[in-house]
Symmetry: C2
Subunit: 235 residues, 2 copies
């Protein structure tokens, strides 16, 4: 490894955590309590599919910046209406938004971060989730990041280049010494445009076992099997 | 403990780390390499004594905001001149500024933070040191904070109330559920004015064994012997 990486920043939803099974589980539990039934994985997927358009609307200036929890709430209300689940009450909806604070880690993510923590390479989140969300998520999921960084700190969202450049500035590393780690090619492409190095980690199960896996983009600096493999490549 | 504390934020220079012996040691090593001798604890103390006036000048608007590393550098240059140590070169001065990224923890701080990490209470730094400084310091000193927060995030310094209120906002806790932990009464008084709860931890050795210990302020919410004791009080 001759890239001279000093710090690695990680996408969280999908790359480090299995949002789909976590959110599906919380939807199903809330549904049971409310006496409602639905195709819960489909509800989770529909919720998540509204994510990118909602962020794009903020980045284009079409809608004002709002914290991700608020965007999640608006999207949830829309999705519940779409699936005929209007009977979910206010308190259940609030708890469902908090489901994104309690996502489960992929099994390799905690040991991979421990390896990085024990090395000289600094690790941090770099997610569209807010600082509070990421702090709670990391604490309960056993994800030992050295620092919690969020797009919230610039009141914007990835792929805004300011998100990546502010991470480099706050960590006091040159962008070319900073590695963006993600399972999403568009996140990595935006990081590369901002001058960061990039590592792709495949998460073929992100959208469930029947989804088509995303192939590794040809132009990334590194491809790792998982976070443990990445830590070994970096240290 | 009926304060209902959800998160605790920690002062770092003095409260969690022994800046005096760390900085004295680095000054003495750099002096040996440069063939210079001086009363190194006195140099460290003089450097640190310029800290509050420098921050006050920023907070009053007298001088523009600059990151703490830059303030440390200006103060160092002044102190070295004062002690007749102008022979320190550019590279040595840069490394001495980085001494503040490598401070040693007080012995009770790492086990106290581990106890908090294992509890529901969120822990974070809340220091005038920058995010990069705090991340490096925590990593090498074994200080397991759940989150790294800094006055840098609002481009100001404690005791600016925005520093405390932004910590509450980013962590998504009400100020009255957020505990400021420090060995400095003025930091705690400013946190209380912003609506936070306060805990005093004495550090009688902060300025060396001959300095007069700071008594516990009468109006704090908690007084703890050290960080392990604090964690027991909170969990």
């Amino acid at each position: 490894m001759s890239l001279g990486i000093e710090a690695a920043v990680f996408d969280v939803f999908g790359t480090m955590t299995d949002w789909r099974s976590s959110v599906t589980g919380e939807l199903a539990s809330a549904g049971r309590r409310a006496g409602l039934d639905a195709d819960w994985p489909a509800v989770a997927d529909a919720w998540r599919r509204r994510y990118r358009p909602a962020l794009r609307a903020v980045l284009s200036g079409e809608t004002p910046y709002r914290p991700l929890d608020e965007l999640h709430r608006t999207m949830l209300d829309e999705v519940l209406a779409e699936f005929g689940l209007d009977a979910f009450g206010e308190e259940e909806r609030r708890e469902l938004v908090r489901a994104w604070h309690r996502l489960r880690a992929w099994p390799d993510a905690p040991p991979g971060l421990e390896l990085l923590h024990a090395s000289k390479v600094i690790s941090a989140t770099l997610s569209n989730g807010g600082v509070g969300l990421l702090t709670r998520l990391a604490k309960q999921a056993g994800l030992r990041f050295d620092c919690v960084l969020s797009a919230e700190l610039v009141r914007s969202y990835k792929p805004d280049p300011r998100v990546y450049l502010t991470a480099a500035e706050l960590l006091q590393v040159e962008p070319r010494r900073l590695l963006m780690v993600a399972c999403h090619p568009d996140d990595l492409a935006a990081a590369a445009r901002a001058g960061l190095r990039t590592a792709f980690v495949p998460r073929p199960l992100e959208w469930g076992s029947e989804a088509t896996p995303v192939p590794a983009p040809p132009d990334v600096d590194l491809v790792a099997d998982d976070i443990v493999d990445l830590a070994r490549l970096l240290t």
